[in-house]
Amino acid sequence: MYVELKNISKKFGDFKASDNVNFKIEQGKLIGLLGPSGSGKTTILRMIAGLETPDEGDIIINGVKVNDIEPGKRGIGFVFQNYALFRHMTVYDNIAFGLVVQKAKKEDIHKKVTELIELIGLKGLGKRYPSQLSGGQRQRVAFARALAPNPQLLLLDEPFAAIDAKVRKELRRWLKETIAKLGITSIFVTHDQEEAVEVADEIIITNKGQIEQKGSPIEIYKNPKTPFVAQFIGESNLIDDYTKLKGFEVDEKKKETKAILRPEFIEIAKNSKEILTPLAAEKGIVKDIAFRGNNIQIDVQIGDEVLNGYRSLEQEPLKIGEEVLVLIHKVYTFNDKKAEVLENKIKTQEISVYI
């Protein structure tokens, strides 16, 4: 294990920013710390960096307990949310700063900085000041500056938050590729799940100062372990009583258990020809139709619940008020304690009959 947090707790006044946080990170991985704002993700990052001190617990980097080691001696590169570029220094001087502090040789500094400016695609802009750069360019400079002293660990605080949507996507891909190329262990903080899923090898989900779940994006998506994760990740329809849905009836209703239905768990069919297992499907009425570019979002009413699902553009169009068949493949059920995945019983039976 490369980075390890053991029983970390941190309070700001009465506010518990970190509440007994434990996790381990392998070397070379790109980790996304994902959570809503105020969930303590930035605090975790700043404690690893040494910019905050935990009240309790140990932080171990590469086998060494770093609690009492100064930020500058932990071998960490940090990219700040607003980049924190030195505004009165040129791009070149910004990137060179860490090396100058380390008293590296002038030729070595020049070589490294030139190399990094090339890496971030800002060749020829070394003499510019931060105020003369675009948001995306500043972000790259901040990234290069953090990398210059050859850190063993790279921390990024909301690296894409201040960049407009179009540049963000491009920059995300660039960052992921570059980090993979350099092979440096990295942790980035984000509140944007799309970003976390796209960039990270592994996601750690935080909520109220605690770690909810850690795993690969697919694992977290397919198998949410806590009610919070089930609701936080992906788009979801919240259903109070899932036992009314066809295929999910139970003999004994578990009280207090709700369910989450992702749009992609729902198949909406014009008629029985469109579905493999029409018997497992439920009847519903189309309430609303919205064109969403690459697909069509359908709001469909089943009993008291309105669910939303998608249909592809190639499928036969539906009209509002039309009766359709709705097949619910699975739901995430959860109560205070746990979350689990339930499959449509009728559908599974039917398929086994076919086989």
């Binding site: 100064e70 930020p71 700040f80 924190a84 570029l85 030195f86 505004r87």
Partner: protein, 280 residues
């Protein structure tokens, strides 16, 4: 949108009327309150001819008062710059209890009348004070001596530097300093390479204001100085003494020195302001 609304609400002729009206009022006020008094000072100073003017400002006591004023100003400005930077740093870069109280205390000299500031030092270091014994033993004179003048001026001009750079440092936050610390820079290097260049113009502006005020301080200094000619007389006090002795042209001549210095400071101030704006 709001801007447009405002424009349509006040129609154009009314708008012009208000604009020129306000300009005329401001200019008249400035002429009455500043230009006329300044001209009268210069003309009074030169009323007995240029030779009398030169004689008045090169007279022994005047030169001594000038020296004392400059020495006081330099010491006070240097010390207040150091204090101001320390306090601003403490308030903006750290979190601690009583921070707001400290911020309010910095402004105290603005709120207290300078005469009372002078009295405070007379009561603290003068006869019957708690320090009297120590001061007598060590043979240090504070009240009615130069240290008293410096202390009183320090007190009165304390807020200038700190007040000028605190908002600046607050706005800039601690990100850049943290970034430098992450790369292993020492505290002193961070201050020299990151903080100082960022607050440079605000700091110079504060220093200029501080020195201007230190040079012209009258009330507080008047109480602690004791008006000993050639020893504890600063320029403003010297003007008052000459005036009270009915040496009007000499009094105005000495006053004109202060006016000229004030104008020079004003020009420096404007250059600083212009430069700092250009850099942003």
């Amino acid at each position: 949108m709001k801007y447009k609304l405002g424009k349509t609400l006040i129609n154009k002729s009314e708008n012009k009327f208000i604009k020129y009206g306000l300009i005329i009022i401001s200019v008249l006020f400035l002429i009455l309150m500043l230009i006329i008094p300044l001209i009268s000072i210069i003309s009074e100073a030169l009323s007995k001819g240029f030779n009398a003017y030169v004689k008045a400002i090169s007279e022994g006591y005047t030169i001594k008062a000038m020296n004392l004023t400059f020495i006081t100003t330099i010491i006070v400005t240097v010390m207040n710059t150091l204090f101001g930077v320390c306090v601003a740093w403490t308030i903006t870069k750290y979190k601690f209890k009583g921070k707001n109280l400290l911020g309010a205390l910095i402004d105290l000299p603005f709120a207290i009348s300078p005469v009372i500031a002078g009295l405070i030092f007379v009561l603290t270091f003068g006869r019957g004070s708690m320090f009297e014994g120590i001061l007598k033993q060590t043979d240090i004179r504070v009240v009615f001596a130069i240290p008293g003048i410096i202390l009183a001026t320090l007190f009165v001009t304390f807020p200038f530097v700190a007040r000028e750079i605190i908002p600046l440092m607050n706005a800039q936050g601690t990100d850049e300093e943290e970034a430098a610390a992450m790369m292993g820079a020492s505290g002193f290097r961070i201050f020299r390479k990151i903080t100082l260049p960022n607050i440079k113009w605000g700091l110079i502006y504060g220093v200029v204001l501080c020195s201007a005020r230190a040079m012209g301080e009258f009330g507080a200094v008047s109480v602690v100085s004791g008006h000993i000619r050639g020893k504890t007389n600063t320029l403003p006090l010297h003007v008052e003494i000459l005036y009270n002795e009915y040496q009007f042209s000499a009094a105005f001549a000495v006053a004109s020195i202060l006016v000229i210095i004030a104008i020079i400071i004003l020009i420096i101030r404007n250059i600083v302001e212009w430069k700092s704006k250009k850099e942003v």
